[in-house]
């Protein structure tokens, strides 16, 4: 049981970090960015390349991974998001643009590095004995990093000038513009920050799995689900949603079936969203409005 929980928790922390990126972007810009998985992939693969090919130490390789990923986030923001925004493109066009980015990133990594998975050494080697079971130290590193990053992000949003500006844009883009806040600059900052979060998730989980070009889509789906479970746009919710999803996945896989794992897990997510459409921590009516005989409320929760 402990082994299953530790697997679920480590995956959940990664889903949480990816979900944080989704929620951060959605909250500030209203965009659902399906490029988040690409940054998880960049983080893991560039770190693996740094260690395996450039023979850098893990820290430097990790910094390289986060830097490359952040630059990719900048490319996404300047090359796809802002141009579509300026042309008043629909939400679907923006989603499509981010999806195209993910697919292109996958193809580039596949072309450059090939399809073989790459090993990344753990931050701390070895395992810790707990209740007669062995838990890799890396699992604890992942958990600690996820908690610190989430807390750090919350503090950043509350206390820093840019964080304040981001919250202002999230409240009302029009009013923020009137107040002199450059909303397009804020959007770029948000996308770069989300990319960095995704990269950190990628380089943290890679030692427990492998880095590969194919992880982008997997973490995209699960990170988005984590954000939805917690309440899309809610930063704390993304963290809680990620842990919930990771642990549920591990428990379902162990006690029910790995063959139909995705069906069970996402079925449970769907059930949760039917009962509580605003997510676990999102605000809004506890029951869907049609059950109370009223029209459905607007979807976007703001916390």
């Amino acid at each position: 049981m402990l082994s299953t929980l530790s697997i679920g928790f480590s995956l959940g922390c990664v889903y949480a970090l990816v979900g944080l990126g989704f929620s951060l972007i959605y909250r500030t810009t209203g965009v659902i960015s399906f490029a988040q998985g690409a940054f998880v992939m960049f983080g893991g693969m560039v770190t693996a390349w740094g260690v395996g090919t450039l023979h850098l130490n893990l820290v430097l390789a990790g910094v390289l991974g986060v830097t490359i990923s952040s630059l990719a986030g900048l490319v996404l923001a300047l090359g796809i998001i802002l141009p579509l925004w300026w042309r008043k493109a629909s939400a679907f066009a923006l989603i499509l643009g981010t999806t195209v980015f993910l697919l292109a990133a996958q193809n580039v990594i596949l072309k450059v590095y090939g399809s073989e998975p790459r090993a990344v050494p753990p931050v701390v080697n070895g395992t810790l004995g707990i209740a007669g079971q062995r838990v890799p130290w890396q699992t604890l590193v992942v958990a600690l990093a996820a908690v610190l990053l989430s807390f750090g992000l919350a503090v950043f949003l509350r206390r820093s000038r840019i964080g304040l500006a981001m919250r202002a844009v999230a409240e009302s883009r029009e009013v923020a513009q009137i107040l002199g806040i450059r909303t397009d600059v804020i959007a770029v900052v948000v996308f770069v920050l989300a990319a960095a979060l995704g990269a950190v998730a990628g380089l943290l989980i890679a030692p427990l799995q492998f880095a590969s070009y194919s992880v982008g889509l997997t973490y995209n789906i699960r990170g988005f689900a984590a954000a939805l479970i917690g309440g899309l746009g809610d930063i704390r919710g993304a963290f809680v949603g990620g842990i919930f999803l990771g642990v549920t996945e591990a428990l379902v896989g162990f006690y029910l079936s790995t063959k139909f794992l995705d069906v069970f897990v996402f079925g449970l997510v769907l059930l949760l969203l039917v009962v509580r459409p605003q997510g676990l921590l999102g605000t809004g009516p506890r029951l869907p409005a049609w059950l109370k005989g009223r029209k459905s409320p607007d979807v976007v929760p703001q916390s």
Binding site: S3, S115, R134, P136, Q209, F210, A211, E249, F254, T258
Partner: protein, 388 residues
């Protein structure tokens, strides 16, 4: 014979070349063996997906074989021209790749991938075009247009279960993906395990490109098997090994249809891995008495190449078998070549000792597998020879 009239001489000068061109014929399954046009052969292989490592070796083997045949004058006096398309381990892409080869490149025969999802996708197209294919994946027994140089599922399973039984193992856990080949292997394994007194205590499934198998390995270990048989192929073997090593396990894990490079890399991660490999892949470890002249000649030919010897050998055998069938049919007509494949009898190969397509399109007639225990130093010591 010729008129002395200039007009008639001019007409003859114009007509004769026209008659010659018309006589050369055309069409996809050309029937004239006197044409100097090359014989166009297509190859659908995975060049970008999870099978890329092995499929690229197969393609290289086909090219090597084609070069060898061309150096000796080609087939029916005609050179071979190869056309390769990538299916990226996606059956939808296998369909469009095959379509392109058939309609644009006008191939008369095909060599196929090691991925079992490609063959069923390609079959209807090949049937419509009457073009035979020699795949390096398993094909359905009722397949009319495809034959295979892949060892039969039962042979690999037999090798692995035989070793487990010989070492007193009574139970096994199974790790697999969702491919048709794994479906077939699972059915064979259930049957053979029963016959050898081995119980299958659990089966866990994963995605073909999974990078995390901790949950599946955890669940299998909880059932306390004496060993694990991994039916799935590709980089997931490394992933499974990592999960086992991280758990501190030393449970034997057995797998088949691996590349030599893959096996050597995997030996560095987990010391209790056992891999079923073919003759060309373990040539260096074979006792002298088991090194056939054909195998030795091929080993010398591929010395120094970086691709997997097993894949190279399969590709080599694919093109040489096609050549023999075309020579026997004395034609590149698809139906005639397919018939000839069934009539060439028991043919010695490099990747397998013999092929025989007379009664089964999966024509590897003798178990070719040796079981090795890859070591951290990259060596592949043989622990068991081919089972009957």
């Amino acid at each position: 014979m010729w008129s002395r009239s200039p007009r008639h001489s001019l007409s003859a000068l114009v007509l004769l070349p026209l008659l010659a061109v018309t006589a050369c014929g055309g069409g996809q399954s050309g029937s004239s063996s006197s044409s100097s046009k090359p014989i166009r052969i297509g190859s659908v292989v995975d060049q970008t997906g999870y099978l890329a490592l092995s499929d690229k070796a197969v393609l290289a083997g086909v090219q090597l074989g084609a070069d060898d045949l061309n150096a000796k004058g080609g087939i029916l006096g005609r050179k071979i021209e190869l056309f390769a398309e990538d299916w990226g381990a996606d059956p939808n892409k296998a369909v469009s790749a095959t379509q392109k080869l058939l309609s644009q490149e006008k191939i008369v025969a095909m060599t196929g991938s090691g991925g079992s999802a490609a063959a069923p996708a390609e079959e209807p197209l090949l049937a419509r075009a009457s073009v035979p294919s020699i795949a390096s994946s398993v094909v359905k027994p009722e397949s009319k247009w495809q034959v295979s140089v892949l060892p039969q599922a039962a042979q690999g399973i037999n090798t692995m279960l035989g070793w487990l039984a010989a070492n007193g193992k009574k139970s096994v856990g199974v790790l697999r993906d969702a491919t048709p080949y794994n479906d077939l292997q699972q059915a064979v394994l259930q049957e053979q395990a029963k016959g050898k007194g081995i119980t299958v205590v659990g089966t866990e499934q994963h995605a073909s490109n999974a990078v995390d198998l901790r949950s599946q390995v955890d669940k299998l270990l909880a059932a306390k098997p004496d060993g694990i048989i991994k039916l799935s192929f590709g980089p997931t073997t490394l992933v499974a090994e990592k999960a086992l090593a991280d758990k501190g396990s030393s449970l034997p894990m057995l797998t088949a249809n691996e590349t030599t490079i893959g096996a050597k890399g995997e030996g560095k991660v987990y010391s209790s891995l056992y891999v079923a490999l073919t003759g060309p892949q373990v040539y260096g470890s074979l006792p002298a008495g088991q090194r056939t002249p054909l195998l030795t000649s091929f080993a010398q030919k591929i010395a120094g190449r970086s691709e997997d010897p097993g894949g190279l050998a399969r590709g080599w055998d694919q093109i040489h078998l096609l050549a023999q069938a075309i020579e026997k049919a004395k034609s590149t007509d698809g139906a005639a070549v397919r018939k000839a494949l069934g009539e060439i009898g028991r043919v010695p190969g490099v990747a397998a000792p013999f092929y025989d397509f007379s009664s089964n399109p999966n024509g590897v007639a003798v178990n070719p597998f040796y079981l090795v225990n890859p070591r951290a130093d990259g060596s592949l010591p043989i622990v068991a020879g081919p089972q009957g």
